[in-house]
C-alpha cells in the first residue's frame, strides 16, 4: 500500500513568524499521511522558540515526526525543546526509531546526524582529541542508525536526518564547507541495512534530489531548497486520480 510522506526541514521558527508555518499546513491531511521534519526547527535553539514550534505543530490531523538540527542545540536547551514537542504530540527521534501505522506500517529511524565530509575527502579519527571526538560522534550516530534499521519491522523504512548523507544534495553549496554539511558514514550505514528514502535538511543552498552509492533515494527538504511549504513523496507509487 502506498504511503504519502510530507517532509520539510529548516523551518527556523520564532516569535517573529508565529502562526505562519501552521497556516501553510492547512489541508495537509488531504495530501499526506504523515509529516516528517528534518531539524532546525528554531533559529537560536531557545526554549521560547521551542514553544512556538510546539504550538505550530500541536493537534495536526496527521502524525508528526521530527529530529533536531544544529540550531536547536545552540542554547543547550535541546532536551527541554524535545520535551515541549513531545507534550504537543510530536515524536522526536534522537538516534532511535518509531513505527507509524497507516495504510501500511512506516518505520522511521533518525536523529540530527553530523558532519565529517565525504569519501576520499573527509576527516579521520586521527590526531588531536578534538578531531577524534568530531569524527567519533558521526561514527557513533551512523552505527546507531544501522542497528535501528536492522531491528526495524515495517513495510517501508525512511531515515530522517538533519545533516546530509551524500554530496548530491549539497550541489549549490560551496564545496569547501561540505565536511560541515554531512558525512558519507551516514549513507554507508543506511546502505548496509536498506531503506526506501533518506530525508535531510541543513544545506539551504543545496538541491533536492540525490541518491546513495547503494541507490537509495535522498531528498534535501530544507525549506529554501523546496521553495514550498513541504514536499510530498509517495512510496509504492501514487495515482493522482486515486482517492
Amino acid at each position: 500500500m502506498k504511503t504519502r510522506i510530507a517532509a520539510v526541514g529548516d523551518i527556523h521558527l520564532g516569535e517573529d513568524v508565529r502562526g505562519r508555518f501552521r497556516a501553510r499546513l492547512e489541508g495537509i491531511e488531504e495530501r499526506a499521511d504523515i509529516l516528517l521534519i528534518a531539524g532546525d526547527l528554531t533559529r537560536h535553539g531557545t526554549v521560547q522558540e521551542g514553544r512556538v514550534v510546539a504550538d505550530e505543530l500541536r493537534g495536526l490531523p496527521i502524525p508528526v515526526v521530527t529530529v533536531l538540527g544544529n540550531h536547536d542545540y545552540h542554547s543547550d536547551a535541546e532536551e527541554e525543546i524535545s520535551g515541549l514537542l513531545r507534550d504537543a504530540g510530536v515524536t522526536v527521534l534522537d538516534d532511535n526509531s518509531t513505527v507509524v501505522d497507516g495504510h501500511s506500517t512506516l518505520g522511521i529511524v533518525g536523529g540530527k546526524g553530523f558532519g565529517g565530509g565525504f569519501a576520499g575527502k573527509c576527516a579521520s579519527e586521527f590526531g588531536e582529541p578534538e578531531t577524534k571526538a568530531f569524527v567519533r560522534h558521526t561514527k557513533e550516530i551512523a552505527e546507531r542508525w544501522r542497528v535501528g534499521l536492522k531491528e526495524l519491522q515495517a513495510d517501508h523504512k525512511v531515515v530522517l536526518s538533519h545533516y546530509s548523507p551524500v554530496k548530491d544534495t549539497l550541489d549549490g553549496e560551496p564545496p569547501e564547507i561540505y565536511p560541515f554539511l554531512g558525512s558519507y558514514l551516514l549513507a554507508e550505514a543506511v546502505d548496509a541495512e536498506g531503506a526506501d528514502l533518506i530525508l535531510h535538511g541543513h544545506a539551504h543552498l543545496g538541491s533536492e534530489k540525490g541518491m546513495t552509492p547503494g541507490g537509495i533515494r535522498v531528498r534535501n527538504v530544507a525549506l529554501p531548497v523546496l521553495g514550498r511549504a513541504y514536499a510530498v513523496y509517495c512510496l509504492d507509487g501514487c495515482d493522482p486520480d486515486e482517492e
Partner: protein, 83 residues
C-alpha cells in the same frame, strides 16, 4: 600598518551574522568591494532581513551595506513525487 584586507572584513561580518545572538544566520554570502558590503542569500521574513543588515553594519561601520537579501518565497505544496 596596512588597511585591513577586504577578505578579512567579509569573513568578520560573516562570522558576526552566524554568531551574533540577534541573527544566528549561516549561509549568508558576504562580499566587500571598495567601500561597499554586499549581503546575499535568503531569509524567512522582512524583519530578519533588516536585522542582518544592522548586525553587518555594526561589524563593518565604515562600509555601505548593500542589502541584497531576499525573503524566501513559499509556494503551496502542489506537486507530488512518486518513488
Amino acid at each position: 600598518m596596512s588597511a585591513e584586507a577586504p577578505q578579512y572584513v567579509a569573513a568578520r561580518v560573516q562570522r558576526a551574522l552566524a554568531e551574533d545572538e540577534r541573527t544566528h544566520e549561516l549561509g549568508i554570502r558576504v562580499d566587500v568591494r571598495g567601500d561597499q558590503l554586499f549581503l546575499r542569500g535568503q531569509v524567512s521574513c522582512e524583519g530578519r532581513r533588516e536585522t542582518l543588515a544592522g548586525v553587518a553594519h555594526e561589524a563593518a561601520p565604515e562600509l555601505k551595506v548593500r542589502n541584497e537579501l531576499t525573503v524566501v518565497e513559499i509556494r503551496d505544496p502542489r506537486e507530488e513525487e512518486s518513488l
